[in-house]
Symmetry: C2
Subunit: 367 residues, 2 copies
């Protein structure tokens, strides 16, 4: 980054450090290789063809997306093995049928109706059965093997359906208070999945897991066949809070102009609100946190986190930062300040593009 | 709306009832006319040229926006009297200078540095001084007339600056528990503004207020010169909770496909998450609310609110609905369900377009 580039940032801008992103990708790809598991990263985090290609440089050939539209977008860039990690949307069956004619498509299923609907399409499909290992958002509960067996039996009527295996998203690792707890929840999920596979006696079924806190913390993967983390390429304040990453691994920051300073209440106001950062938050020391504050570095983009500085309130376009009294002098209207988002996936989704440190822009899929 | 149109909705879609929007606009425009105050609606809610024209049909000629980009977008559709209701962003001075050469531009100021910066531009500008009447987000506190006087005195050095008046956004009406409380906060704000104007002895300064809860509830406006509400054209679950509107005045709903049903925990899962509704929420009866649920009506789009049904959790693309046990039969995977967003401005911002009941699409400004 250079000072001209910084000067040209006039409004909230999502800045991306390509080297850090590539390191985060390499780290996870390498760990997957070492553990001999398939690495099928979730592309909903970045939603960008260019960043997708950085995964190809690490020999990734299989990906996860969260919608039919996103599958279509990445197919156009040559990806031909995609899992749509979302419960089947019956209203998009014709689109799914079309995509399945073009590529090796995986669909997630959590009920018998979905098996009947997909089985009646005229193309082969890979089916993953969704197992709930504790998140309780959707899926078949891991301790209900009867329901799972029913689905497996039904699917046998449809020769075009290839039951690939069992997937889980142990998203309850996000509520972990420590890295140890995240690992424990992750391991517990894997145990449940293995118990279930053993109980139904289908050893050929693959086990696929996907959650950044677990996948980041585990030193080696075992007893699973595939991982599907997404957020780990960027990380964010929430992952830092859980203990999934170190501050220097965070690879995106929202650069915001300061528009007001209020020393009388130790607050600074930025141009950067809910439409830029999203309203995702967590509570830290009894205080809401909508983002962390980093120092500006005209060379590296941003540097160390500024301890004690937090985004404590957000409205549509404004953000309010709580600043320790002794640091108020550092912030002046007109300055830029890098904010580490709480949930980088949602911030990226809102911003729709990335500014790289070398000045080039990366686009995301249109919405 | 007809059944073909409903069938064609295959993914989360923001549906808009044009008649209701036009009624909401008419109601507020009429009240402003009756009270003889300037109606300068905030266009950040809809961000759409087409909806902007519906205001022209009500003789609205002066508008409010929240960013320089938004001003530019509406200028291209012929709007020539625009207030950018956001603290001056020093990094956009050249853009502001350019726009001020084209139209009658109003800028909000809350410190002396902004007066110096704007005074040095080569075009005349309308200045509004931001007064904090209790929201404590930014602005000069209403009980600090010294600071206000300093700004006024400084501005006299710059003949191109026309001090229009004092603005406040009594956004703390949003935390009101009842309509009465919202009205009380709104009236208190107006009293503070009038006290301040009297104290500094500048009776020619206009007083401009802008918050939907207050502006909706007050039967007639008095002791003010201008109103700038935005959200009232759509309303939403939050406004309903505060008491600013009746359910039948809400004019947008996010239509979401149901993707799973979990009778064992009285929950239904929809395709519709944080990237569609935003993570804005409020607590109702100790339960988080991320949206309300309405019945589907193939004629009117959506009908009555379904009592006891609430969106209680959101992840990136999923929403989880809590449903009374006796109503679980009403929800089936593949069905569409209309969700009333908690904060319609943020939902509209995320969705970027509207589907009208007659089938035509309305675009928003590009981001």
């Amino acid at each position: 980054m250079n000072s001209t580039l910084l000067e040209n940032i006039i409004k909230p801008t999502l800045v991306l450090d390509e080297n850090k992103v590539r390191e985060n990708i390499h780290f996870m790809a390498e760990k997957a290789r070492r553990s001999n598991v398939i690495f099928r990263p979730h592309f909903k985090t970045h939603q960008s063809r260019e960043i997708g290609r950085w995964f190809r440089d690490e020999d990734v050939r299989q990906i996860t997306v969260s919608s039919v539209d996103m599958a279509e977008y990445f197919i156009k860039d040559g990806w031909d093995n995609i899992t749509i990690a979302f419960p089947l949307n019956f209203r998009q069956l014709p689109q799914i049928n079309e995509l399945a004619q073009m590529i090796n498509l995986g669909i997630l299923v959590e009920n018998i109706e979905a098996i009947h609907a997909l089985g009646s399409l005229d193309t082969p499909l890979n089916i993953w059965i969704k197992i709930d290992t504790g998140l309780h958002r959707t899926d078949i509960e891991w301790n209900s093997p009867r329901k799972l067996k029913e689905i497996l039996d039904t699917s046998e009527k449809y020769p075009k359906l290839n039951i690939n295996g069992l997937v889980t998203h142990a998203g309850h690792t996000y509520s972990a208070k420590t890295a140890e707890e995240a690992v424990q929840i992750h391991n517990q999920s894997i145990k449940y999945m293995n118990d279930l596979r053993q109980f139904i006696n289908k050893p050929h079924l693959l086990i696929s897991v996907g959650d950044t806190p677990g996948c980041s913390q585990i030193p080696e993967f075992s007893a699973i066949d595939e991982i599907r983390p997404g957020n780990f390429i960027f990380f964010d304040a929430e992952q830092l809070e859980i203990g999934s990453c170190k501050p220097e691994q965070i690879s995106v920051a929202l650069f915001c102009p300061i528009v007001a300073s209020h020393p009388e209440r130790n607050e600074v106001v930025i141009y950067g609100g809910a439409v830029h950062l999203s309203k995702e938050m967590y509570i830290h020391s009894d205080q809401p946190c909508y983002g962390l504050v980093a120092s500006l570095d005209s060379n590296k983009g941003w540097g160390e986190l500024l301890q004690g500085c937090t985004v404590t309130r957000l409205s549509q376009e404004h953000g309010v930062l709580s600043i320790p009294k002794t640091m108020m002098d550092l912030f002046h209207p007109g300055d830029l300040i890098p904010i580490i988002p709480v949930h980088s996936c949602l911030t990226a989704h809102l911003m729709r593009r990335y500014l790289c440190l070398d000045g080039h822009m990366i686009d995301m899929m249109p919405i």
